[in-house]
Amino acid sequence: MKRRFEQRLRFVWLALSAITLAQLALGSLGQQDALTPNAVVTSSAIAIALIKVRVIIREFMEVRHAPVLLCRLADLWVVVTGVSLLGSYFVGMAHSAG
Protein backbone atom coordinates (compact mmCIF):
# COMPACT_ATOMS: atom_id res chain seq x y z
CA MET A 1 0.00 0.00 0.00
CA LYS A 2 2.70 2.37 1.03
CA ARG A 3 4.58 1.65 -2.15
CA ARG A 4 1.50 2.28 -4.26
CA PHE A 5 1.03 5.71 -2.69
CA GLU A 6 4.68 6.58 -3.22
CA GLN A 7 4.47 5.52 -6.81
CA ARG A 8 1.38 7.56 -7.35
CA LEU A 9 3.03 10.69 -5.91
CA ARG A 10 6.06 10.16 -8.11
CA PHE A 11 3.89 9.67 -11.17
CA VAL A 12 1.96 12.87 -10.40
CA TRP A 13 5.16 14.81 -9.98
CA LEU A 14 6.59 13.50 -13.23
CA ALA A 15 3.39 14.27 -15.08
CA LEU A 16 3.23 17.82 -13.73
CA SER A 17 6.87 18.42 -14.63
CA ALA A 18 6.30 17.04 -18.10
CA ILE A 19 3.34 19.37 -18.61
CA THR A 20 5.51 22.25 -17.45
CA LEU A 21 8.09 21.39 -20.06
CA ALA A 22 5.29 21.25 -22.61
CA GLN A 23 4.44 24.78 -21.55
CA LEU A 24 7.99 25.73 -22.37
CA ALA A 25 7.33 24.56 -25.90
CA LEU A 26 3.99 26.38 -25.89
CA GLY A 27 5.62 29.58 -24.72
CA SER A 28 8.31 29.34 -27.39
CA LEU A 29 5.69 28.65 -30.05
CA GLY A 30 5.78 31.18 -32.85
CA GLN A 31 8.44 33.25 -31.13
CA GLN A 32 8.66 35.52 -34.22
CA ASP A 33 5.22 36.99 -33.59
CA ALA A 34 5.57 37.18 -29.83
CA LEU A 35 4.26 40.72 -30.02
CA THR A 36 0.77 39.87 -31.21
CA PRO A 37 -1.86 38.58 -28.81
CA ASN A 38 -2.55 34.92 -29.36
CA ALA A 39 -5.82 33.55 -28.05
CA VAL A 40 -4.80 29.95 -28.61
CA VAL A 41 -1.58 30.25 -26.64
CA THR A 42 -3.33 32.21 -23.90
CA SER A 43 -6.29 29.91 -23.47
CA SER A 44 -4.14 26.80 -23.55
CA ALA A 45 -1.72 28.36 -21.05
CA ILE A 46 -4.55 29.13 -18.66
CA ALA A 47 -6.26 25.80 -19.21
CA ILE A 48 -3.06 23.80 -18.70
CA ALA A 49 -2.26 25.82 -15.58
CA LEU A 50 -5.70 25.13 -14.17
CA ILE A 51 -5.40 21.43 -14.91
CA LYS A 52 -2.07 21.40 -13.10
CA VAL A 53 -3.59 23.29 -10.20
CA ARG A 54 -6.42 20.80 -9.99
CA VAL A 55 -3.99 17.89 -10.06
CA ILE A 56 -1.94 19.48 -7.26
CA ILE A 57 -5.07 20.04 -5.21
CA ARG A 58 -6.44 16.56 -5.77
CA GLU A 59 -3.25 14.54 -5.54
CA PHE A 60 -0.69 16.40 -3.48
CA MET A 61 -3.22 18.09 -1.23
CA GLU A 62 -5.26 14.86 -1.12
CA VAL A 63 -8.57 16.47 -1.82
CA ARG A 64 -9.62 13.35 -3.69
CA HIS A 65 -9.92 11.68 -0.26
CA ALA A 66 -11.59 14.69 1.30
CA PRO A 67 -15.30 15.08 2.06
CA VAL A 68 -17.38 15.91 -0.96
CA LEU A 69 -17.93 19.50 0.18
CA LEU A 70 -14.23 20.29 0.07
CA CYS A 71 -13.87 18.64 -3.35
CA ARG A 72 -16.73 20.73 -4.66
CA LEU A 73 -15.38 23.95 -3.16
CA ALA A 74 -11.94 23.37 -4.61
CA ASP A 75 -13.40 22.57 -8.01
CA LEU A 76 -15.63 25.59 -7.75
CA TRP A 77 -12.61 27.77 -7.20
CA VAL A 78 -10.87 26.28 -10.24
CA VAL A 79 -13.97 26.91 -12.35
CA VAL A 80 -14.43 30.45 -11.04
CA THR A 81 -10.80 31.25 -11.74
CA GLY A 82 -10.98 29.74 -15.21
CA VAL A 83 -14.15 31.54 -16.16
CA SER A 84 -12.91 34.78 -14.69
CA LEU A 85 -9.52 34.71 -16.42
CA LEU A 86 -10.65 33.43 -19.81
CA GLY A 87 -13.78 35.54 -19.67
CA SER A 88 -11.94 38.76 -18.95
CA TYR A 89 -9.34 37.89 -21.60
CA PHE A 90 -11.84 37.31 -24.39
CA VAL A 91 -14.21 40.09 -23.41
CA GLY A 92 -11.28 42.46 -22.99
CA MET A 93 -9.73 41.52 -26.33
CA ALA A 94 -13.04 41.84 -28.14
CA HIS A 95 -13.54 45.20 -26.47
CA SER A 96 -10.13 46.58 -27.37
CA ALA A 97 -10.39 45.22 -30.93
CA GLY A 98 -13.86 46.67 -31.44
Binding site: K2, W13, H65
Partner: protein, 209 residues
Protein backbone atom coordinates in the same frame (compact mmCIF):
# COMPACT_ATOMS: atom_id res chain seq x y z
CA UNK B 1 9.71 28.01 20.64
CA UNK B 2 6.76 25.96 21.72
CA UNK B 3 4.88 24.23 18.99
CA UNK B 4 1.61 25.57 17.81
CA UNK B 5 -1.10 23.51 19.35
CA UNK B 6 -3.21 21.18 17.30
CA UNK B 7 -6.87 21.96 17.23
CA UNK B 8 -8.35 19.90 20.02
CA UNK B 9 -11.89 20.18 18.78
CA UNK B 10 -13.43 16.76 18.19
CA UNK B 11 -13.63 16.21 14.48
CA UNK B 12 -16.50 14.66 12.70
CA UNK B 13 -14.32 12.33 10.69
CA UNK B 14 -12.23 11.20 13.65
CA UNK B 15 -8.49 10.88 13.63
CA UNK B 16 -8.51 7.15 14.37
CA UNK B 17 -10.11 6.32 11.10
CA UNK B 18 -7.61 8.53 9.41
CA UNK B 19 -4.68 6.69 10.90
CA UNK B 20 -6.13 3.59 9.29
CA UNK B 21 -6.68 5.40 6.03
CA UNK B 22 -3.00 6.14 5.69
CA UNK B 23 -2.50 2.47 5.04
CA UNK B 24 -5.41 2.33 2.69
CA UNK B 25 -5.68 5.45 0.57
CA UNK B 26 -9.05 5.74 -1.03
CA UNK B 27 -10.79 4.45 2.07
CA UNK B 28 -12.39 6.82 4.55
CA UNK B 29 -12.83 10.41 3.49
CA UNK B 30 -11.09 13.00 5.67
CA UNK B 31 -9.96 16.60 5.49
CA UNK B 32 -6.18 16.71 5.26
CA UNK B 33 -5.01 18.97 8.08
CA UNK B 34 -7.12 21.50 9.91
CA UNK B 35 -10.30 22.48 8.08
CA UNK B 36 -9.35 25.98 9.25
CA UNK B 37 -6.34 25.98 6.98
CA UNK B 38 -8.59 25.06 4.08
CA UNK B 39 -10.72 28.08 4.82
CA UNK B 40 -7.56 30.17 4.55
CA UNK B 41 -6.50 28.46 1.32
CA UNK B 42 -9.83 29.02 -0.37
CA UNK B 43 -10.09 32.63 0.78
CA UNK B 44 -6.53 33.51 -0.17
CA UNK B 45 -6.96 31.72 -3.49
CA UNK B 46 -10.01 33.87 -4.18
CA UNK B 47 -8.03 37.01 -3.39
CA UNK B 48 -5.40 35.84 -5.86
CA UNK B 49 -8.07 35.12 -8.46
CA UNK B 50 -9.13 38.73 -8.15
CA UNK B 51 -5.53 39.95 -8.59
CA UNK B 52 -5.14 37.73 -11.64
CA UNK B 53 -8.40 38.95 -13.11
CA UNK B 54 -7.41 42.58 -12.69
CA UNK B 55 -4.11 41.74 -14.38
CA UNK B 56 -5.76 40.05 -17.36
CA UNK B 57 -8.22 42.92 -17.76
CA UNK B 58 -5.44 45.52 -17.69
CA UNK B 59 -3.47 43.43 -20.16
CA UNK B 60 -6.22 43.28 -22.68
CA UNK B 61 -6.57 47.05 -22.57
CA UNK B 62 -3.05 47.51 -23.93
CA UNK B 63 -1.85 44.16 -25.27
CA UNK B 64 1.05 45.61 -27.25
CA UNK B 65 3.09 47.15 -24.42
CA UNK B 66 2.46 44.15 -22.19
CA UNK B 67 3.71 41.71 -24.83
CA UNK B 68 6.65 43.95 -25.59
CA UNK B 69 7.74 43.92 -21.94
CA UNK B 70 6.97 40.25 -21.55
CA UNK B 71 9.67 39.40 -24.10
CA UNK B 72 12.23 40.56 -21.54
CA UNK B 73 11.30 37.75 -19.19
CA UNK B 74 13.18 34.50 -19.59
CA UNK B 75 10.71 31.66 -20.00
CA UNK B 76 13.38 29.16 -18.97
CA UNK B 77 13.70 30.78 -15.58
CA UNK B 78 9.94 30.54 -15.14
CA UNK B 79 9.95 26.88 -16.11
CA UNK B 80 12.84 26.21 -13.76
CA UNK B 81 10.98 27.94 -10.91
CA UNK B 82 7.90 25.86 -11.59
CA UNK B 83 9.84 22.61 -11.64
CA UNK B 84 11.52 23.47 -8.36
CA UNK B 85 8.23 24.26 -6.65
CA UNK B 86 6.61 21.11 -8.04
CA UNK B 87 9.50 19.12 -6.62
CA UNK B 88 9.04 20.85 -3.26
CA UNK B 89 5.36 19.94 -3.31
CA UNK B 90 6.27 16.36 -4.02
CA UNK B 91 8.70 16.22 -1.13
CA UNK B 92 6.30 17.82 1.31
CA UNK B 93 3.62 15.33 0.26
CA UNK B 94 6.07 12.50 1.00
CA UNK B 95 6.86 14.17 4.32
CA UNK B 96 3.17 13.97 5.27
CA UNK B 97 3.00 10.34 4.17
CA UNK B 98 6.11 9.45 6.18
CA UNK B 99 4.71 11.21 9.27
CA UNK B 100 1.54 9.18 9.05
CA UNK B 101 3.51 5.97 8.81
CA UNK B 102 5.64 6.98 11.76
CA UNK B 103 8.93 7.01 9.86
CA UNK B 104 10.08 10.30 11.31
CA UNK B 105 13.56 10.17 9.90
CA UNK B 106 12.10 10.13 6.38
CA UNK B 107 9.58 12.81 7.31
CA UNK B 108 12.31 15.12 8.56
CA UNK B 109 14.46 14.49 5.52
CA UNK B 110 11.61 15.33 3.21
CA UNK B 111 10.79 18.47 5.19
CA UNK B 112 14.41 19.62 4.90
CA UNK B 113 14.36 18.76 1.21
CA UNK B 114 11.28 20.95 0.81
CA UNK B 115 13.08 23.82 2.53
CA UNK B 116 16.01 23.31 0.21
CA UNK B 117 13.78 23.56 -2.86
CA UNK B 118 12.21 26.64 -1.33
CA UNK B 119 15.62 28.23 -0.94
CA UNK B 120 16.51 27.36 -4.53
CA UNK B 121 13.33 29.08 -5.64
CA UNK B 122 14.06 32.16 -3.55
CA UNK B 123 17.60 32.47 -4.84
CA UNK B 124 16.52 32.06 -8.42
CA UNK B 125 13.75 34.62 -7.98
CA UNK B 126 16.09 37.16 -6.43
CA UNK B 127 18.55 36.59 -9.28
CA UNK B 128 15.80 37.09 -11.81
CA UNK B 129 14.76 40.35 -10.14
CA UNK B 130 18.37 41.52 -9.95
CA UNK B 131 18.86 40.80 -13.64
CA UNK B 132 15.69 42.65 -14.58
CA UNK B 133 16.62 45.65 -12.44
CA UNK B 134 20.11 45.69 -13.94
CA UNK B 135 18.50 45.81 -17.38
CA UNK B 136 16.51 48.83 -16.24
CA UNK B 137 13.15 47.18 -15.61
CA UNK B 138 11.88 48.25 -12.22
CA UNK B 139 8.56 48.27 -10.40
CA UNK B 140 7.65 51.60 -12.01
CA UNK B 141 8.99 50.98 -15.53
CA UNK B 142 5.63 50.07 -17.03
CA UNK B 143 2.42 48.33 -16.14
CA UNK B 144 3.61 44.85 -17.07
CA UNK B 145 6.61 45.12 -14.80
CA UNK B 146 4.47 46.59 -12.02
CA UNK B 147 2.34 43.46 -12.18
CA UNK B 148 5.37 41.24 -12.56
CA UNK B 149 6.99 42.57 -9.39
CA UNK B 150 3.69 42.72 -7.56
CA UNK B 151 2.61 39.14 -8.31
CA UNK B 152 6.05 37.60 -7.86
CA UNK B 153 6.60 39.76 -4.78
CA UNK B 154 3.39 38.86 -2.99
CA UNK B 155 4.02 35.23 -3.87
CA UNK B 156 7.55 35.56 -2.52
CA UNK B 157 6.08 36.86 0.73
CA UNK B 158 3.84 33.81 0.95
CA UNK B 159 6.88 31.64 0.40
CA UNK B 160 8.75 33.37 3.22
CA UNK B 161 5.79 32.68 5.50
CA UNK B 162 6.00 29.12 4.17
CA UNK B 163 9.39 28.73 5.80
CA UNK B 164 7.89 29.60 9.17
CA UNK B 165 5.15 27.06 8.47
CA UNK B 166 7.69 24.38 7.54
CA UNK B 167 9.60 25.23 10.71
CA UNK B 168 6.45 24.54 12.71
CA UNK B 169 6.05 21.20 10.91
CA UNK B 170 9.67 20.24 11.56
CA UNK B 171 9.44 21.08 15.25
CA UNK B 172 6.22 19.06 15.48
CA UNK B 173 7.82 16.05 13.80
CA UNK B 174 10.86 16.28 16.04
CA UNK B 175 9.01 16.79 19.29
CA UNK B 176 5.98 14.56 19.05
CA UNK B 177 6.81 11.18 17.62
CA UNK B 178 3.65 9.21 17.10
CA UNK B 179 1.30 12.15 17.50
CA UNK B 180 -1.57 12.80 15.12
CA UNK B 181 -0.16 14.12 11.84
CA UNK B 182 -2.76 16.86 11.59
CA UNK B 183 -0.40 19.77 12.09
CA UNK B 184 2.05 18.45 9.52
CA UNK B 185 -0.81 18.04 7.06
CA UNK B 186 -1.90 21.59 7.78
CA UNK B 187 1.56 22.94 7.07
CA UNK B 188 1.80 20.88 3.88
CA UNK B 189 -1.54 22.28 2.73
CA UNK B 190 -0.14 25.78 3.07
CA UNK B 191 2.98 24.84 1.16
CA UNK B 192 1.03 23.29 -1.73
CA UNK B 193 -0.97 26.51 -1.95
CA UNK B 194 2.23 28.41 -2.65
CA UNK B 195 2.93 25.88 -5.37
CA UNK B 196 -0.40 26.02 -7.16
CA UNK B 197 -0.56 29.81 -6.98
CA UNK B 198 2.84 29.92 -8.63
CA UNK B 199 1.64 27.59 -11.41
CA UNK B 200 -0.98 30.21 -12.28
CA UNK B 201 1.40 33.13 -11.93
CA UNK B 202 3.83 31.36 -14.23
CA UNK B 203 1.20 30.85 -16.91
CA UNK B 204 -0.02 34.43 -16.66
CA UNK B 205 3.32 36.21 -16.60
CA UNK B 206 5.53 34.04 -18.77
CA UNK B 207 3.33 32.10 -21.17
CA UNK B 208 0.08 33.88 -22.00
CA UNK B 209 -0.07 36.26 -24.93
Amino acid sequence: MTTVQVSVAPRADGSDERAASSEKPGGVRFVPGQPDMWAFVLFEALVFTSYFTVYVIRRTQSPGPFLQSQTHLDLHVGVFNTLVLLASSWSVARCVQATREGSFRAALNNAYLTMLFGVVFLVSKVREWATAIAQGFSFTTDEFFSFYYFLTGIHFLHLLIGFVVLGVAVSRIRSAAGAAPELVETCATYWHTIDFLWVLIFALLYVMR
